[in-house]
């Protein structure tokens, strides 16, 4: 019986747990409660993934009111995959936060933190699961507002300005999305995505629908930080608490990518988006720019969290590049890299957080000699860094392989070379860290540090280990990604 209501439970559980956190004052109690809610959410997402893999699309009418007037929750393989990724990362990060958050947020604000965290989680999950365009906007706003709060809780005073900058740009993005949805509603009379897909072809040649497409694309690209709409990301990741950086880096942009996929392929359709409109070319140009410029700027950053932020911009470039091919291999590569990058960046930010916890700051100077004093943490960073480069036996290699293969399949070998050149750039900025950690003697900042506590190391290594595991055994990741890709490209939404 409960199986029938899994879709709504996926969102309701974190959504209702969030305000309950405000009632708890004790730090351990609120953390355990949030973690429990999260674990249940994770179990629900695993069940949903299994159900979708077995029986196809799950359709759930909210409150018993059926689509297209009622809100419909529609879970296909792509949504289930994203739900799973978000839940897993959230769970791992929450376990980690038990210890690390005390250092960065004052005690009396902790319930606020967990409330905002669970709200953000429910927002992200809602985006991935809903089949209604306006409902998507609602959840988008919930998750965005919650993330502004989360970022502003950072210790550094610049966190406030970073949150404000993100607020302005994020609201512009959300407003564009709303305008796009509104224009679509005007032309078709429906908000249900499945229904939109059926009704759009008859009105698709109008300027209104073209504008809607443009508004939606720009708005979504703002949220997913595609170059040149990425300006909010570096500051937001750099000044937020470590836990928040890890969570957002691994989930927020991924869900935005999901929204792009959903609107482009399911609602508007491949033919319109890529043949009538030059979406493929535009995305490819910006993706290549993101790869080069993101990696190049990362090389010159002294604040390491900022460096990882620019690295994320480059990695998002890879994902969008795969999507811009609009072929089965290209989409598989893009969706696969969503998963792989979540693992990579999640692990890296958690390890960075451990370093912040032990040394108090995050500049390159702080890394001197850490290879000796914090060997396990640095080892996690080395593995994560090698994965960013794309060394074999890591997930990064698998993603790069599929991207190059997708490019070669089209005969676009310069694009393939771009992908590989990006790896070299990634290697340069990873290498600065490794040289500082292993070749410099411990400096004044790092002379007395010890290894990070197990509660911080274990989640970081869980994600890093998963990085290696899924670099060797790719049945789950590639299997689901390719199934999702084929659904997006041809079969029923």
């Amino acid at each position: 019986m409960i199986e029938a209501h899994l879709p709504i439970l996926q969102v309701i559980i974190p959504l209702l747990s969030a305000p309950l956190c405000l009632l708890m004052r004790n730090r351990t109690v609120v953390w355990s409660f949030a973690l429990m809610a999260n674990i249940i959410t994770l179990l629900v997402s695993i069940f949903l993934l299994q159900q979708t893999l077995d029986s196809g699309v799950i359709s759930y009418a909210l409150g018993g009111w059926s689509a297209p007037i009622g809100i419909e929750y529609r879970v296909d393989i792509l949504s289930a995959f994203i739900l799973f990724i978000v839940s897993v990362i959230s769970c791992v990060v929450l376990i980690y936060s038990g210890k690390s958050i005390g250092n960065e947020i004052s005690e009396h604000r902790l319930p606020l933190f967990y409330t905002a965290y669970l709200l953000c989680l429910s927002g992200l999950l809602g985006i991935a699961i809903t089949g209604d365009a306006f409902n998507l906007f609602v959840f988008l706003e919930i998750s965005s507002l919650a993330s502004y709060i989360l970022i502003s809780l950072g210790r550094d005073r610049r966190a406030l300005t970073a949150a404000y900058q993100y607020l302005i740009m994020g609201t512009i993005g959300a407003t564009f999305i709303l305008i796009g949805v509104g224009l679509l509603y005007m032309m078709t009379g429906t908000l249900n995505m499945h229904d939109l897909a059926k009704r759009l072809p008859s009105v698709i040649e109008t300027r209104t629908v073209h504008s809607a497409f443009a508004f939606l694309t720009v708005g979504i690209c703002l949220k997913l930080a595609l170059f040149p709409l990425h300006l909010w990301l570096p500051n937001a990741y750099a000044y937020a608490p470590s836990v928040v950086s890890a969570f957002l880096a691994a989930t927020a942009t991924k869900v935005a990518i999901y929204v792009l996929l959903r609107f482009t392929f399911t609602v508007f359709g491949v033919d319109f988006a890529f043949t009538d409109m030059p979406l493929g070319e535009i995305l490819m140009i910006f993706a290549i720019a993101a790869i080069f410029i993101g990696s190049a700027v990362a090389i010159f950053q002294n604040n390491i969290k900022r460096m990882l932020a620019y690295s994320s911009i480059a990695q998002i470039g890879y994902i969008i590049l795969g999507i811009s091919f609009a072929t089965s291999l290209g989409l598989t590569a893009g969706i696969l890299h969503v998963f792989n990058h979540a693992l990579m960046k999640g692990g890296l930010f958690l390890a960075m957080g451990a370093i912040v916890y032990q040394t108090g700051a995050i500049n390159l100077r702080n890394f001197d000699g850490l290879g000796k004093t914090m060997p396990w943490t640095m080892a996690a960073i080395v593995v994560g860094g090698l994965s960013l480069v794309g060394v074999p036996l890591t997930t990064g290699f698998i993603s790069k392989w599929y991207l190059v293969l997708a490019a070669l399949e089209q005969g676009w070998w310069p694009v393939a070379l771009v992908v590989l050149a990006g790896s070299i750039l990634a290697f340069v900025y990873v290498w600065r860290l490794i040289e500082a950690a292993y070749f410099h003697a411990p400096g004044e900042h790092t002379g007395t540090v010890k290894e990070a506590p197990l509660m911080l190391l274990a989640p970081a290594w869980l994600l890093t280990g998963a990085n290696i595991y899924f670099g060797i055994n790719t049945d789950l990741s590639v299997g689901v990604a390719s199934q999702a890709a084929s659904i997006l490209l041809g079969a029923q939404p």
Partner: protein, 490 residues
Amino acid sequence: MTTASQEILLPLIVALPLISAALIRMCDARPNLREAVTLLTSVTLFALLLKLAPAVLKGAHPSFQIAEPFPGIFLQFNIEPLGLLFSLIAGFLWIVTSVYAIGYMRGHHEKNQTRFFMYFAIAIGITMGVAFAGNLLTLFVFYEALTLSTYPLVTHTGTSEAKRAGRVYLGILLSTSIVLLLFAIIWTWSLAGTLDFTPGGILAGKGSDTVLGILLALFVFGIGKAAVMPFHRWLPAAMVAPTPVSALLHAVAVVKAGVFTILKVVVYIFGAEVVLGLPLTQWLLYVVAATILLASLVAMTKDNLKARLAYSTVSQLGYVVLGALLATSSGIIGSSMHIAMHAFGKITLFFCAGAILVATHKTEISQMHGLGKRMPITMTAFLIGSLSIIGLPPMGGTWSKWYLMLGTLEGSQMVLLVVLLLSSLLNIAYLLPVPIRAFFGTPADIDTAPGIKEAPLACVSAIVVVAIGCIVLFVYPTPLHHIASMVGFK
């Protein structure tokens, strides 16, 4: 020996040195125990290899699958004659180098010895993985792992000079392997639909001559460990490492992994006929010929002994690549044999250079006049090694050079024959002066200091073993020739 037990030997041989690396780490506090672990492991490894050899020589191809990272492409081991040859050489020379390294590290009072022996073992294990790779993906995985695992060895001394050299090393090797080699591998996959090493190749008819030519060029330049110019700078840069590292890794394991990969790609991915038929092959042969000559010329200008040997290695690697690209039966045989001959010859030379460093703290050739009187065994071994590299009897290098020249005749490549002969002359010019001046030169001031005597016993015994090996390979080359002639056939 049953097939199943043969098959399990493959991952066992690769894993054994990796496990011993962990043991070495644990024996940090007890150096003698630590060295015992290294020696025991190296002997066991070679014994296992000898156990595997007879079946492979009879034509068996044991294989072992590890995982399937991509649908249809496995990480798997699959041994064939060339891989066996490479692994036997590397395995035997590991034993000798371990003995030498113990003497060297202790005689030179090096720091961080545990770290050294640990990464050494890891690098050897990975080399075995390269030798046993059954397809291009597995080969690439171990190839990259070799680059990364030898980095701590190259930068062992930790000085800023070592750091700079390490950057050049990693920079060139990783750039070429990611941008050129990986690109070529993925392109091969999309053309041929498989990456397995198959006698006769997998690319016949799968693309136009231009496409296949460009692909071959990508492989030749992408395999940076083969040091084809202009991607050779990492080799002289890596000479900053301690001599045992230079000896085994940069005269045997790392560089041989490079030329081994090129040979495997030519024989088992393209196939000899395809390579012979491509117009671009001729241009690649000229680039390799230029590498051979230019590297020899640069070697002549170097006063630092290790730098001279480094450029000599670049030149000698060119021989192997030349033989591979000639793609005639003698060329391939000469190539394979030269892998072994050069390994023994070069390792002798590097061992001598290290022995001189430990005994006299000298690195420049101009300081080594008259050293032969003080260190007769070392300089005699140097003479033997030099003769082998030059290719004169009674040293093993004679045979490999013979087959290479036969290969150029088979392919009607007169220019290349002249290049090989010229190169031998250049080898004489940059190698022989060292032992000649050592024996017949008048010593400079401090060389007559009474403190100088032969290097530590461990070093000297290792030197003697490999020098004798050079001679043995001349007198008894049959097993080597037998394996070499099996390369490329079903």
